[in-house]
């Protein structure tokens, strides 16, 4: 099967959802959530029939690739969207509460249609090998996020988060585009392969300009992956946005940022003139993100905010893997595996959070008190997610960190290794705080919490995958070959 047909299938699904919304005026539209979920599920299953191929169609060659990395991150985008839509179905009662609707469940349909388009943008971004294609697909993702973050119009934190995200993201896009123009100005190319060729034969007096362009690009991408010092937007936006969208931002947006980093930095680490400087910047970003993310996560009392800071810390570990490149090659498998584990555990945490929020009415850690009695299954799921985020052995999180540290040792990045190990220790403290609340702190009332059938099954599947990848990571590593 042609890899491009996956993208087109997602596009068709998005259009079908928009039309179903439009032609069911004034009727109950909650069923669209199920159609979106089923559709993405089917396309996700179909994606395993697609095999990487060099040339999809000749006229697309300068812009589009379907190499193993692209196919892996297309599946990644589809998997993320699938679980985000499941979270969104669970979130629907909270959502409709904050919408100015004239009928029951009015206005919820687009909340299920827009993530499909975001997914499409993420899939195109995974395949993009040209600055212009990268930019337009990045904008498709960002613009759909602007809308989704501010979606709960009658909730002030959501609006505030939407405004903050819009302004800061637009600023970072400005840096990104300006960086592209500098690199285009120096090399005369927008295709990444051609840029790589041009860098190798670049006259020395143009190298300052090239590095300046690269620095601007890194500012833009640092924002997307929430690396320090470009992390200022993260806590408020994560806390204010509707929870499914927070999950989407923390997994989808971050993964896309890392694909772009791998693709864009690749020509620069192959050129001897720039490779050392790129490494220096990556190490600095990794150190700052590790220390800042883990230290600021410690005093947090709100689980959503805690996960926001933890996502900064995880960006640090991922940057650590990127910084350990050797001989002009990134450790793609390490980054991809870490992201796959991060997807499973983060989305599991957000899924449980939405159910608890619906019943208990908030996301602070105190709302999780006594969850072990009120909903043993959900509490078990959240425990596994937290243990994996902390990096306990036999979880995907541990395996991911293991690969990261192994790479750093191999590349002799000792400073990163030491700081990384210390911050992992710090991580135990704040992740286990949540586990303590669930099992040791008494709840205000002991009413059982009911979750939907689909949610319970999803929790089971995610727990299974986290443990399975923690014991036997080979299947994911094979996907990248």
């Amino acid at each position: 099967m042609n890899p491009l047909s996956l993208d087109l299938a997602v596009l068709a699904l998005g259009l079908v959802l928009v039309f179903l919304e439009a032609f069911n005026d004034g009727k109950e539209k909650a069923f669209l959530g199920w159609i979106a979920t089923a559709g993405i599920g089917v396309i996700f299953a179909l994606s395993f029939l697609v095999s990487p191929q060099e040339i999809v169609a000749t006229q697309l060659v300068p812009f589009y690739t379907a190499d193993p990395l692209a196919i892996f991150f297309k599946r990644f985008a589809l998997g993320t969207t699938l679980i985000v839509l499941i979270i969104a179905i669970e979130f629907r009662p909270i959502l409709s509460h904050y919408l100015p609707a004239s009928v029951r469940n009015g206005g919820v349909a687009e909340f299920f249609a827009l993530p499909v388009f975001t997914c499409l943008g993420l899939m195109w971004m995974a395949s993009a090998v040209d600055f212009i294609m990268i930019f337009v697909s990045l904008e498709l993702v960002t613009i759909s996020f602007y809308v989704l973050v501010a979606y709960m119009r009658r909730n002030n934190p959501s609006l505030e988060a939407g405004t903050k995200y819009l302004i800061l993201s637009a600023l970072s896009t400005g840096f990104f585009v300006y960086g592209i123009t500098w690199i285009f100005g120096v090399t005369g190319k927008t295709n990444l392969g051609a840029v790589g060729q041009a860098i190798l034969s670049l006259p020395v007096e143009n190298q300052t300009a090239l590095l300046f362009g690269l620095a601007l690009l890194l500012v833009g991408l640092g924002f997307k992956i929430a690396a320090v010092p470009f992390q200022l937007w993260v806590p408020d936006v994560y806390q204010g946005a509707p929870t499914p969208i927070t999950a989407f931002l923390s997994v989808g947006s971050k993964a896309a940022g890392f694909v772009l980093l791998i693709r864009i930095l690749d020509p620069f680490i192959k050129a001897p003139a720039t490779s050392g400087k790129v490494q220096l910047v990556l190490v600095a970003l990794a150190l700052l993100s590790l220390v800042y993310g883990n230290l600021t996560a410690m005093p947090q009392l709100n689980l959503k905010r805690l996960l926001a800071y933890s996502s900064i810390a995880h960006a640090g570990y991922l940057l650590m893997a990127l910084a350990s490149f050797q001989n002009g090659h990134f450790k793609q498998t390490t980054v991809s595996f870490y992201l796959a584990g991060y997807l499973l555990m983060t989305l599991l945490a957000f899924l449980v959070m939405v159910v608890v929020n619906r019943v208990a009415g908030g996301d602070s850690i105190a709302h999780f008190n006594g969850l072990g009695q009120r909903a043993p299954w959900l509490a078990f799921g959240l425990t596994v997610a937290m243990l994996s985020l902390a990096g306990i052995p036999f979880t995907a999180g541990f395996m991911g960190k293991f690969f990261v540290f192994a790479d750093a040792v191999e590349a002799h990045q000792w400073l990163l290794v030491v700081v990384g190990i210390v911050t992992v220790g710090a991580g135990f403290y704040y992740y286990l705080k949540v586990v303590r609340a669930m099992y040791w702190n008494p709840a205000k009332n002991n009413e059982p919490i009911q979750a939907g059938r689909l949610t319970q099954v999803t929790v089971g599947v995610l727990v299974f995958l986290i443990v399975a990848l923690g014991v036997y990571p080979q299947p994911v590593l094979d996907l990248l070959k």
């Binding site: 812009f63 388009f117 809308v147 501010a150 979606y151």
Partner: protein, 166 residues
């Protein structure tokens, strides 16, 4: 184009661009932006990019500016004029902008100075035809992606601004 004209139009573009930021009155600010766009359009035209120059006038100086003015009319202009500029914010802004500008200058110093006379472009087709061929030919895929992007943006506008959702 003669260098004199280039300097005049460049000065108009930059001067009115600065006026956009400095003016406290939003309407004056918006109109300065329009004039700045006109200067930019003249620069495009002088580079044989007539089509882009015209589009610059029609779309930016025309449509976008009208939109801007509409939004400004809906705002409370007096409140904006009364607003005090915080000294710390002002200093911070100037310092950051200054640092960035000096960095750009430092980078630009590395370039050799351009003294070339460029011959006029000789293109196989008129301006607009060329743009059309490039846009719908070579850049077709990104162009289609922008189509989806605009669809998403318009859905977003409706969702976020409609009074009652049904």
């Amino acid at each position: 184009m003669s260098p004199t004209l280039f300097w005049i139009f460049a000065a108009i573009t930059l001067g009115f661009g600065a006026a956009t930021l400095i003016n406290r009155n939003p309407v004056a600010s918006a109109l300065s932006l329009a004039v700045s766009f006109l200067g930019l359009a003249a620069l495009f035209t002088s580079l044989s990019a007539t089509f882009i120059g015209i589009v610059q006038v029609l779309v930016y100086a025309g449509a976008v500016m009208v939109l801007f003015l509409f939004i400004i009319m809906l705002l409370d202009l007096k409140a904006e004029q009364r607003r005090q500029v915080r000294l710390s914010a002002l200093i911070g802004g100037v310092v950051i902008a200054g640092l960035f500008a000096s960095q750009v200058v430092l980078v630009l110093r590395h370039f050799p100075k351009g003294n070339h006379e460029f011959p006029p472009l000789s293109l196989p087709h008129p301006d607009a035809v060329n743009i059309g061929l490039t846009l719908f030919g070579h850049y077709n895929l990104p162009f289609q992606v922008i189509g989806v992007l605009i669809l998403v943006a318009s859905i977003g506008v409706v969702v976020l601004s409609k009074r009652e959702l049904n």
